[in-house]
Symmetry: C2
Subunit: 113 residues, 2 copies
């Protein structure tokens, strides 16, 4: 992984968590192991390619474990590792801000005449 | 701003905060108003273009205020708005995770023989 130029811990965190989907993926994995198709259904706006890349990056970083079950066809499950569980405080702070942002933007939207 | 398809509050937050630099920019603006050049010095790894785009997006979202001072040449300062201050809890949770990540990765790095 490219080492963070300024060594600043916020940058270090965002180097892994940056991007629109990673924290969202983690928030769904907090519910327990999920198949790829389940994550795609949970996050309809994410592309197959983006989900694959984000899961692989978090697997390489040691935050997600990928298990292949010998069914026919094979089933693949993703789950948070112990390191991944470190992300809980980061994920938990988001909904409060996200809900406030949604309500604020709803108030701001011009009501149709 | 594109409305978030799933309406999930984490996605809503990440729609604004996603990307590698926005939370880092906010963390530096917590220290008070900053000039563009100061932000570039604080975050050497960010390109001029990316910093411009991120500041503009946060300005449009109402989280950053841009003030132009009539000096010659003009000076431009950026500061968090009251809405921007809502990001403090999100920014504050990052360093703990970032520091842990840095120390973990330092332990993982193969020590040169």
């Amino acid at each position: 992984m490219k080492s963070s130029a300024t060594g600043c811990s916020v940058e270090e965190a965002m180097r892994l968590l940056g991007g629109r989907w990673r924290l969202l993926i983690v928030s769904y994995l907090l519910d327990g192991p999920k198949r790829f198709s389940e994550l795609r259904r949970d996050i309809p706006a994410i592309s197959q390619r983006m989900l694959t890349l984000d899961l692989r990056a978090m697997e390489e970083a040691g935050f997600v474990k990928r298990t292949v079950f010998p069914t026919v066809p094979a089933t693949v499950e993703y789950e948070l590792t112990a390191d991944g569980a470190r992300l809980v405080p980061v994920v938990e702070v988001m909904p409060t801000f996200g809900l406030w942002l949604k309500e604020r933007d709803a108030r701001r939207e011009p009501t149709s005449p």
